[in-house]
C-alpha cells in the first residue's frame, strides 16, 4: 500500500527538483552580468522602511559606473555575523558586510576584517567622519571598517506633562539633581500604583551609560587598565539605587519588560514623563504617538561642569578577510559613506550618520519637516558629547564579569562598595590573564 505509491512519487519529486535553483552547485556568482565584477554585500536592513533606502543607494552605485555590480543580500539581524564568521572561516566571505562598530578593532585583531590602510593611503577619507567614530575602527593605528551610521543617547521629555506639573517645558533638567526634582513633581501616584512616572534612569539605557555620563570615563583607561571602582561610579550607582527605591522593584520591572521587549512604551501615552533613548526613537513617537508634545535635551550632568557625556554606537562597512574583490568592495564602501548616500540615508531613515557633512546637510534638508529637524539637530549637536565604548581587544567579554555585579547591586544583594570592588578585581584578573 504505502510502499508502492511512495517510491515512484519520490523519484518524480527528485526529477522535478533537479531542475530547481536550489540544487545547482557551483559558484553562486557565476552568473556575472557581462564584464562586471559582482560583489556581495550583506546587510541586516530588510524592513519595509530601511530596505528600499539601502537598495536605492546600491542601485545608484551600480548605475554610476559600469565595472562593478553590487548584489545586496538581506541577512537577519544578529545572525548575520555568525554567518559572516562561518563564511570567513570557509574562505568564501561576502565582499562588504555591515558590522558593529564597537567590535571593529577586535575583528581587526582576530584577522576577520581586512586592514583598510592600503586603500586609505591612496584615498584618505578619514576626515569625513566624527573622530570618535573613526577612532573606534582603529586597531594599532589601522582602520578595519568605515563608519556608516551611529547613534547617541538624548533625553526625551513630555512637554504637556511639564506644564501640568508646573514646570517650564522649554527648560529640561540640566543636572541629576534637577532630574530628580522634576521627576518628583511629575510623578502622579494613585494608591500603590503610578498614573505617571517622572523618570527612571534604567529604562532605555543601562547603568553603564550613567557611569560614563558621570565623569566621561569608561571602565578602562587609555592603557587598558580597569578603573570601574571609582568615586564617580559609586556615586552614580547610589543615585540609581535612590531611583530604584523611589519607585520599587515591581513598578520598575513591569515597565522595563514592556520597554525591553520593544512593545508598549509608557512614554507614548504620557505615563512616563522623561525617557532616554536614541534620536531615532523619534520616528516611533512620530508614527505611534503623533500628538505627543515633547522636547529633546542632552543628558543632564552629574554636577555642573561634569559634562553631558552620552554614549553611542553604530555600524561600519567592512571588507571581510578573504574577499575576492577587495578593490571593488572599497569603491562601494566609499560610495556608501560619501555625502550623497549618507544624506539620503539620514533623511529617509531619520538616522544619525557617520559622515559629518551629510549629517549637517540632512538637518537642513528640505525633505525633513521642521519638527524632525529640531530632534535631528540635537542628535548632531550631541555627537560632541558622545563617547563610544569599543570592546577592549584584550578583554572582549569583560561585561560577563561586570553585569552580574551591577545586577547584584541593583537587587540589593551586594553593597555598592563590595560590588564595584569585586568587579574591579575580576577585571584586573582578566586583563592580567590575557597579557
Amino acid at each position: 500500500m504505502f510502499s508502492k505509491k511512495l517510491l515512484p512519487l519520490f523519484f518524480a519529486v527528485l526529477l522535478v527538483l533537479s531542475g530547481c535553483a536550489g540544487f545547482k552547485t557551483g559558484d553562486s556568482k557565476s552568473a556575472d552580468s557581462g564584464d562586471k565584477v559582482v560583489i556581495d554585500f550583506w546587510s541586516f536592513w530588510g524592513s519595509e522602511i530601511r530596505r528600499p533606502v539601502i537598495d536605492k543607494i546600491v542601485e545608484d552605485f551600480n548605475k554610476s559606473q559600469d565595472k562593478i555590480e553590487v548584489k545586496h543580500t538581506f541577512v537577519p539581524w544578529g545572525d548575520i555575523w555568525t554567518k559572516e564568521l562561518a563564511a570567513i572561516a570557509a574562505k568564501n566571505p561576502p565582499d562588504v558586510v555591515i558590522n558593529d562598530i564597537n567590535a571593529t578593532a577586535l575583528r581587526g585583531q582576530k584577522n576577520q576584517a581586512m586592514n583598510l590602510s592600503q586603500f586609505l593611503e591612496k584615498d584618505d577619507i578619514s576626515d569625513r567622519f566624527y573622530e570618535e567614530l573613526w577612532n573606534a575602527t582603529l586597531y594599532e593605528g589601522d582602520s578595519y571598517g568605515i563608519p556608516f551610521n551611529t547613534d547617541t543617547r538624548i533625553l526625551f521629555y513630555n512637554k504637556t506633562a511639564f506644564k501640568e506639573a508646573g514646570l517650564d517645558p522649554e527648560k529640561p533638567p540640566a543636572t541629576w539633581e534637577e532630574l530628580w526634582e522634576y521627576a518628583e513633581k511629575l510623578d502622579v501616584k494613585n494608591g500603590d500604583t503610578y498614573d505617571r512616572i517622572g523618570f527612571y534612569p534604567l529604562w532605555g539605557v543601562n547603568s553603564d551609560v550613567w557611569m560614563l555620563n558621570s565623569d566621561g570615563k569608561n571602565f578602562f583607561d587609555e592603557d587598558g587598565a580597569p578603573i570601574i571602582d571609582s568615586e564617580a561610579n559609586r556615586e552614580t550607582l547610589e543615585w540609581v539605587l535612590d531611583w530604584h527605591k523611589k519607585y520599587g522593584a515591581n513598578t520598575i520591572n513591569s515597565y522595563k519588560s514592556q520597554i525591553d521587549s520593544q512593545q508598549g512604551n509608557p512614554f507614548f501615552n504620557g505615563k512616563l514623563a522623561m525617557y532616554v533613548n536614541t534620536p531615532t526613537f523619534y520616528t516611533q513617537i512620530r508614527d505611534y504617538a503623533p500628538d505627543l508634545d515633547f522636547g529633546v535635551a542632552m543628558l543632564p550632568e552629574r554636577e555642573p561642569g561634569s559634562g553631558n557625556t552620552s554614549w553611542g554606537g553604530g555600524f561600519v562597512a567592512e571588507i571581510p578577510q578573504g574577499s575576492k574583490h577587495p578593490e571593488e568592495a572599497w569603491e562601494f564602501i566609499k560610495h556608501l559613506t560619501d555625502v550623497e548616500a549618507q544624506e539620503y540615508w539620514a533623511v529617509k531613515n531619520f538616522d544619525n550618520v557617520a559622515n559629518i557633512k551629510a549629517a549637517e546637510n540632512a538637518a537642513k534638508n528640505s525633505e525633513m519637516p521642521d519638527k524632525d529637524k529640531v530632534v535631528y539637530q540635537m542628535a548632531i549637536d550631541n555627537m560632541e558629547n558622545t563617547l563610544l565604548t569599543p570592546v577592549p581587544v584584550h578583554a572582549p567579554d569583560f561585561m560577563n564579569l561586570v553585569n552580574p555585579e551591577l545586577d547584584s547591586i541593583l537587587l540589593g544583594k551586594k553593597s555598592i562598595e563590595q560590588g564595584l570592588k569585586d568587579a574591579q578585581q575580576s577585571l584586573e584578573k582578566l586583563t592580567e590573564k590575557s597579557k
Binding site: L85, A249, S254, S257, Q258, S261, P396, D397, D407
Partner: protein
C-alpha cells in the same frame, strides 16, 4: 572448520547494510567536524587567525580559573533536574487524557500540539510579554487567585522556574510520542485488567506505564541531552547576557559567548567536550539502568 561466511555472518553484514546510510553520513558530515572540534579544544583556535597547540590549558582554565564555567554548569543542572521530571510527567499525563474518547478530541490534540510547532525567537519574546510582572498575562491570572506573582525574569531566583514553566507549556511534542505508543497497547490488556477489578488509575499505572516504557526511556534520554543544551530561550530572554546575576547563564549560552563574542573557539570546544562527557556518562548510566524498568514486548523470551 570453515567459518568464513556462514549465514550468521551474512546476517551481520546485512546489519551493516542497514546502518550504512548512517555510517556514510557520519563519516561524510559529522566525523570530520567532530574530530576537528576535539583537536581544536587543545588549541587557542579563534576561527580566523590563530590555532596553536596549548595542551590542556583550556581544560585547566575551565576547572581552575573560570567561575562562570561553574555558574553555567550549576544553572544547567538546576534546569535539567527540574524540567526533565516535570515535562516527562506532564507529557505522559497529558497524553493519557488525550488518549480518551472525549468529544472534540481531535481539536484538543491539535491545540495541545500547537506550542510544539511554535518555535523560534518570536515565541520567546511573546513569553517575555506574558511573564511581565505587572501587566503580563501570567501574573494577571495568578492575581485572580490572590497569588502575588513573582518578578519572573527580573528576579534571579525566578528566571529558571520561568523557563521551566515555559517548557511545560510546550510538552505537546512529547505528548505526540506517548500518544503514538499508547495506541500500540493492546485493548485486551485493559479488558483483562478490568475483569481483575483494576481501577482506571491502576490500569494506567500497571498497564499503560509499563507498556510505554520504551518511549519514556527515549523521552528521558533525549530530553536530558536536549536539556543540557538549553540555549535559545535563555539567549533571547536575557538579551544575550545570561542575566540577571548570571541566573540564565546556561552552559551553552556561555559557550556561545566564548565562541562567537570573544572568538575563543578553542575554549568553547573544550567546554563542549566536557559537556559531552557529562551527558555521555549520564546517558550510559541511563542505558545501564534501562533493563531494570524498560519493558520491550519484542524481547520477551
Amino acid at each position: 572448520m570453515r567459518k568464513k561466511l556462514n549465514y550468521k555472518r551474512m546476517e551481520g553484514l546485512q546489519g551493516y547494510v542497514f546502518i550504512l546510510p548512517w555510517i556514510v553520513g557520519f563519516i561524510a558530515f559529522t566525523a570530520g567536524p567532530l574530530i576537528f572540534s576535539f583537536a581544536a579544544s587543545f588549541t587557542n583556535y579563534n576561527i580566523t587567525s590563530q590555532m596553536d597547540f596549548v595542551g590542556f590549558d583550556n581544560y585547566e582554565n575551565l576547572f581552575t580559573a573560570d567561575n562562570l564555567f561553574w555558574t553555567s554548569l550549576y544553572n544547567t543542572l538546576y534546569y535539567v533536574l527540574f524540567s526533565i521530571p516535570l515535562t516527562t510527567a506532564g507529557a505522559i499525563f497529558l497524553s493519557a487524557l488525550l488518549n480518551q474518547d472525549v468529544p472534540g478530541i481531535r481539536f484538543f490534540r491539535t491545540i495541545y500540539y500547537l506550542p510544539a510547532v511554535l518555535s523560534g525567537v518570536g515565541v520567546y519574546l511573546l513569553w517575555m510579554q506574558l511573564l511581565d510582572p505587572g501587566t503580563g498575562l501570567v501574573n494577571t491570572a495568578l492575581g485572580w487567585f490572590g497569588i502575588p506573582g513573582p518578578n519572573w525574569l527580573f528576579d534571579p531566583d525566578w528566571t529558571k522556574p520561568a523557563l521551566i514553566f515555559m517548557k511545560l507549556w510546550s510538552v505537546g511534542g512529547g505528548m505526540l510520542l506517548y500518544l503514538a505508543s499508547m495506541q500500540g497497547v493492546s485493548k485486551s490488556l485493559y479488558e483483562a485488567a478490568k475483569i481483575d477489578g483494576a481501577s482506571s488509575w491502576q490500569q494506567f499505572r500497571f498497564i499503560t506505564i509499563p507498556m510505554i516504557t520504551p518511549v519514556i526511556f527515549f523521552d528521558i534520554v533525549t530530553s536530558l541531552i536536549g536539556g543540557f543544551q538549553i540555549f535559545q530561550e535563555a539567549y533571547v530572554m536575557s538579551n544575550g547576557e545570561g542575566g540577571p546575576v548570571n541566573s540564565m547563564l546556561f552552559y551553552n549560552l556561555y559557550m556561545w559567548k566564548k565562541a562567537f563574542e570573544s572568538f575563543d573557539m578553542g575554549y568553547a570546544m573544550a567546554m563542549s567536550w566536557i559537556l559531552f562527557i557529562i551527558v555521555f556518562i549520564i546517558t550510559i548510566i541511563n542505558l545501564k539502568l534501562a533493563p531494570r524498568w524498560v519493558h520491550y514486548e519484542g524481547e520477551e523470551r
